[in-house]
């Protein structure tokens, strides 16, 4: 059962990773001419959540952060529309207005992000309060420091909303580490707001263990992860960064390589075709 789940997660990550590698190259070659926020390294969070939630047959409202390509892709956002968006086309998922950070998808209930860190939290809470629909809000560890995020946790808890706060904690705000910025943890803060909250790794199995709490009440998961590339643009901060994708591929051996290669071929061809059409 776990293996089947992990395989599904791996398939989703392989799509996201190969997509991001193509974006990386497109930025390098100047085919994309605005800031991009690559989610490579962090994909297992949205891939795990999308796999779990699909199994539960729930279609949540999704409020993503600026580093959101993997969220969009994992939950089934249209790949072509995202490529169009990154190329500035009107056919893009945000009609060429959203760039990398402000993408949306009506099909998967994913709402655009305005570019201010963490504003998605109060907006998601308001949407959840109004609709009472299951809602996921993705935050970074930096945006978790925004005062309106903290106020949102408090109000969501007070109103007992079916909302899931996911903090994709890569420990960095651009390159400033968490320990330089604060001496507290967001999961402890959430607990003080009388919410269930956990501090876990981005191992899909750990994420799955917490899924029994999803959408029954407000909960927060601070998920420790790693960003492989620069905060913005195409570059590498360190080649020693732990890569969850590699470790998952190892579990599956040759089958993992096959999943990767299949996704790579599909995504590479798509990018190549769409870049040629430009």
């Amino acid at each position: 059962m776990s293996k089947e789940y992990l395989k599904e997660v791996l398939k989703k990550i392989s799509i996201c990773r190969n997509f991001e590698l193509n974006v990386f190259n497109a930025v390098k070659k100047n085919n994309i001419k605005f800031p991009v926020y690559l989610s490579a390294g962090q994909e297992s969070i949205s891939a795990s959540l999308a796999t779990i939630i699909k199994k539960k047959k729930i279609k949540p409202l999704i409020f993503a952060q600026h580093r959101c390509h993997s969220t969009y892709l994992s939950f089934g956002g249209n790949i072509r529309k995202l490529i169009y968006e990154l190329l500035g086309s009107k056919k893009g998922c945000a009609y060429g207005m959203g760039g990398s950070a402000s993408i949306q998808s009506r099909e998967i209930n994913m709402f655009g992000h305005d570019g201010h860190m963490g504003t998605q939290a109060p907006i998601a809470v308001g949407a959840c309060f109004q609709s009472k629909k299951p809602t996921i809000v993705f935050l970074g560890d930096a945006s978790a420091e925004e005062d309106y995020v903290l106020a949102s946790l408090g109000w969501a808890s007070t109103k007992k909303l079916p909302i899931l706060f996911i903090v994709e904690d890569n420990n960095l705000s651009i390159l400033t580490e968490k320990k330089v910025r604060r001496n507290w943890d967001i999961h402890s803060v959430a607990k003080s707001f009388k919410m269930k909250a956990f501090n876990i790794s981005d191992n899909p199995l750990e994420i799955k263990k917490k899924s029994k709490y999803f959408f029954r009440e407000p909960i927060l998961l601070n998920i420790n992860t790693n960003r492989l590339f620069w905060h913005s643009g195409a570059g590498i901060d360190s080649d020693k960064t732990f890569d969850r994708y590699k470790s998952l591929r190892k579990i599956f051996g040759a089958q993992g390589n096959t999943i990767h290669n299949k996704a790579k071929e599909k995504i590479d061809i798509l990018w190549k075709k769409m870049l040629e059409r430009q």
């Binding site: 709402f111 907006i123 949102s152």
Partner: protein, 304 residues
Amino acid sequence: MEKNVRETIKEIIRRHLKLKQGKVFGQCLTAVGWVGGTLPEMYEKDGMVEVSMADVAGGGFAVGAALMNSRPIYVIRYQGFNWYNAPMIVNYACKSKEIWKKPCPVFVRSIAMEGGIGPVAGSSHHSLYYRMPGVKICSPMTPKEYKSIYKKFMREDDVFYVSEHRGSYNNKKELKNVLVKKPDIVLFAISITRFEAIKALNILIKQNIKISLHHILWIKPLKIESKFIKNLKESKYGGLILDDDYENGIAKSIANELNIKSGKPIYTLGLKEKSAGFYPTKDNLPPNKNEIIKKINKIINEKK
């Protein structure tokens, strides 16, 4: 019996909650005064939602509710509180239709008052929203005006910033424009200054000064009757904008627009360039009839 502005707003809110299944968000709504008596005695089960006291987040809650097609009314008890409440309204709700083709209509009831309430809470702050795209700004001071802007909001899908003033709540009368041929000066009055402009006009007439008066309801997009532009062109000394916000805001923007349209000099009179203190002599109040008269006399004397 004829309703005043207070009763009109209260009735609109009641209908919005009961008949339209809408929501009203805000802080301390169900407190003793029910926001100057403009809210019916209804509670969360009826759609009257008390948000937390975190101004920074409250605007976001209303925006989220608007994304769910609920057409929320968001009450900001003092316009100065917009400095913390506005960010998600102007940066998300106002832009949502343009960026994502997803309208996010919020009706912002932003309430002004002044007199002994210090440097933050007092007066109108509509200029704060004015520079941002995707927002419609109006300042109704009469029952009919309030009804018309609510109806418009329900028909359209934009964010409305409704710049109210507590000084208008007892008002039952409609305020009519005054058009005189070849005036000395044309007044364009916004918010609470409209009442003082009428008083000033009645005194100036007795001094044989010819004044036209245009009440500005719609600030953005700016709606000025074309016959008043013509009237402005015919005027001897130009126009004067009166506002309850600082002069370095909407007043000067409107002055520029009217100057371009008419070729006449347009002056401004609003809050002075200083912070408001609590003590009466230290306050910063909108122009009253005496200040308006003084300003007009100054303009005329300088040009003579």
